[in-house]
């Protein structure tokens, strides 16, 4: 047992809603103790895939194992050992924090329930607010309650569906610190997100688009595999330069970042030629830069819109 079994190992998952195929042949592997990011535009099938993994939806095709249990046959066992944090806050707004946690503790048959609840409350700094109604909490505290509820039973796998949507940067930072602390203790995490900084905090990322997984690997692998070149133009003429570069050969993306202009393209030679010419004409300084993960994703999303599927 040198190589432990992956926490998630699913192949060829397919899910259709009516005629629409929402998840198409998705195969996903997440190693134990890994934080795996799940990225993709809205409606790309992230939530559906996560629901398939935790047994909330039945796949139309595909097999796999989650925590060593068969995805199709052992849904009940999987539920017991997985913590799932839904995208929409789905605890009882008319119950207090402590009441919500007691409810969850009961359902997971934790004993003594109050001890588990109190420990979880203090671990996540919720003790002071435990008697507040969940409905009166702000986004950040709701998210913290939801996290508390899904880690209280000490799951081996945590599925987080856009956990930080609508949460302020400080709360987001704290949330991620918490996730890393949990992963350190051996918890496996699959987290979907729209934020690039969050994607970069993952050990591995998976990019899904229109139901298909199209890129997978560590951040640097994904960036490298995208084979993109990036140039930066600096100077006063960048607005003019942006106009001139639009549609120029080799140029795929143009994005102004404050006083600089990022120009990204797949065909390195054509791109360099176009950018060099514009730089000369607009008297801006040209330099090569590292391609960022965001550039890669924009590139992948632009590819989707081309209607290749």
């Amino acid at each position: 047992m040198n190589v432990p079994e992956p926490a998630i190992d699913v192949q060829g998952l397919v899910k259709r809603f009516g005629k629409k195929t929402v998840v198409n042949q998705v195969s996903l592997t997440v190693e134990q103790g890994e934080i795996s990011g799940f990225l993709g535009p809205n409606g790309s099938g992230k939530t559906t895939t996560i629901r398939l993994v935790c047994g909330l939806l039945t796949p139309d095709a595909g097999t796999g194992r989650v925590l060593g249990y068969d995805l199709l046959r052992d849904a009940a066992r999987i539920k017991r050992e997985v913590g799932y944090m839904t995208q929409r806050f789905s605890f009882y707004e008319d119950l207090s924090i402590a009441e919500n946690l007691s409810f969850v503790a009961g359902l997971y048959q934790l004993f003594p329930a109050q001890e588990h609840v109190q420990n979880t409350l203090s671990d996540l700094g919720l003790t002071v607010r435990q008697h507040q109604l969940a409905g009166n909490l702000s986004g950040g505290w709701k998210q913290r309650l939801a996290l508390a509820a899904c880690i209280m039973h000490k799951p081996k796998l945590l599925l987080l569906d856009e956990p930080t949507a609508g949460v302020d940067p400080k709360a987001r930072r704290e949330f991620w610190d918490e996730i890393h602390a949990l992963a350190e203790k051996g918890l496996t995490v699959l987290v979907s997100t729209h934020y690039m900084d969050e994607a970069e905090r993952c050990h591995r990322i998976n990019y899904i688009s229109q139901g298909s997984l199209i890129a997978s690997g560590t951040v640097s692998e994904v960036v490298k595999n995208a084979k993109l070149r990036t140039f930066i133009l600096t100077g006063t003429g960048i607005a003019k330069a942006a106009e001139m570069l639009a549609g120029a050969p080799g140029v795929d993306q143009i994005a102004p970042f404050g006083l600089t202009l990022h120009v990204v393209g797949q065909d390195a030679k054509l791109l360099e030629k176009s950018v060099a010419q514009v730089a000369k004409e607009t008297k801006t300084t040209m330099s090569e830069a590292e391609t960022s993960l965001e550039d890669v994703f924009i590139q992948l999303m632009t590819g989707d819109e081309g209607g290749v599927s």
Partner: protein, 378 residues
């Protein structure tokens, strides 16, 4: 076994429901206030044997025979002569407008015919658009009028002599000799009120979770359909018990409805009935996706069960197919049971058929709900 049913999980569900019920004060107040309000309102308002109905008298001549007839009619309690007129046209207008329910016409030669020993005639026109209104008042009419005339002519003894040789029909109005509507209505109202609140409340049980988004979370946790069902249904059983206590107490104190049968049998019947109702409501909530749909389904069920169960109209008076249809409503069997026990003093053997039917509903609804329960979000 631990995987299919756990008391700890059920307890957690029950505590949660109890807290939610307590916090939703308006609903909670309605669950207890509405039954009492409805019982008082309908208990006093509904009357299937209406009395003191407005009537018009058309009498061109006011002789002693006319007065005798009018007095006799008023003494039956069914007629109240608000209008006395000589014009047939005016009386026609009154009945057409619905101001009076009856027009009693006593012809001008009425007294003369009586005295000559001819056959006098008396016309009573009844507004029979609602058959129930007219029936009681008309049924008593013949004998009352005849007796009044005999009395007025002092010929009672003679008539009695003649009647002795005729056929005598003996009628016993059993279980409710005075024909008090409330004795029949109040136990029925218990069923109707329970049906309305129990089915309505539980039909929201799952759809509310779905609409608030909490269903996704619930399904992701290790809880089984049976536990969810019991967790939703048992709290309402308690609410039902409180409603039953309120209604039965009011029935005794306000309406003085007799409790001829044993209380334990009444309570057993009510328990099985309420159980079938909460399970029916829960089944509805597994069938609908929104609270709106649940509400519509509830009403779709509610009206036929009210009309075909024998609560509003006599069950045995319906055509055969309608009686068959009526058998499919728990309320029908409950009414048979509760009226039997409360008013007739029926024992367990007498009511075991309706009890068995109610038990069958319980099992059928529970099975259907468990089958229909969606374990996933598909």
């Amino acid at each position: 076994m631990r995987h299919f049913f756990s008391l700890r999980r059920l307890y957690a569900l029950l505590v949660k429901e109890a807290i939610q019920m307590r916090r939703d004060r308006i609903t909670f107040a309605m669950m207890l206030g509405v039954p009492l309000m409805q019982l008082v309102l309908f208990g006093f308002a509904i009357n299937s044997d209406p009395k003191e109905l407005p009537a018009a008298l058309v009498a061109p001549t006011q002789d002693r025979y006319t007065r005798a007839i009018v007095t006799a009619l008023e003494l039956t309690g069914y007629y109240r002569f608000n209008y006395v007129t000589a014009s047939a046209q005016e009386a026609e207008n009154l009945i057409a407008q619905g101001v009076v329910s009856f027009v009693v016409t006593i012809p001008s030669d009425f007294g003369r015919r009586v005295e000559r020993g001819e056959r006098p005639q008396l016309l009573i026109e009844a507004d029979a658009t609602d058959p129930a209104v007219a029936s009681g008042a008309i049924s008593t009419l013949g004998t009352v009028a005849a007796n009044a005339l005999l009395h007025e002519r002092g010929a009672e003894a003679e008539a009695a002599e003649r009647a002795r040789s005729q056929l005598e029909v003996v009628v016993h109005r059993r279980y409710n000799p005075e024909g008090i509507t409330q004795y029949n209505i109040v136990p029925g109202l218990l069923g109707v009120i329970l049906q309305m609140t129990m089915v309505m409340m539980t039909s929201m049980a799952l759809t509310r979770e779905t609409e608030r988004g909490t269903m996704e979370n619930l399904l992701a946790m290790p809880v089984t359909p049976l536990e969810i069902m019991l967790g939703k249904v048992l709290p309402y059983l308690v609410v039902g018990a409180v409603q039953v206590a309120v209604v039965l107490t009011a029935a005794k104190l306000l309406f003085n409805v007799p409790f001829v049968g044993t209380l334990s049998l009444i309570l057993l019947g009510v328990f099985v009935f309420v159980l079938s109702l909460v399970l029916l409501g829960y089944t509805i909530s597994t069938l609908s996706r929104t609270q709106m749909q649940a509400m519509q389904l509830t009403f779709f069920f509610f009206l036929p069960s009210l009309l075909l169960s024998g609560f509003m109209f006599p069950y045995r008076g319906m055509p055969g197919w309608a009686q068959v249809l009526g058998e499919f409503f728990p309320l029908t069997h409950f009414l048979r049971m509760i009226r039997g026990v409360m008013l007739k003093g029926a024992n367990f053997e007498t009511v075991q058929a309706p009890l068995a039917a109610l038990l069958l509903f319980v099992l059928a609804y529970a099975a259907l709900a468990l089958l229909r329960f969606r374990r996933t979000l598909d």
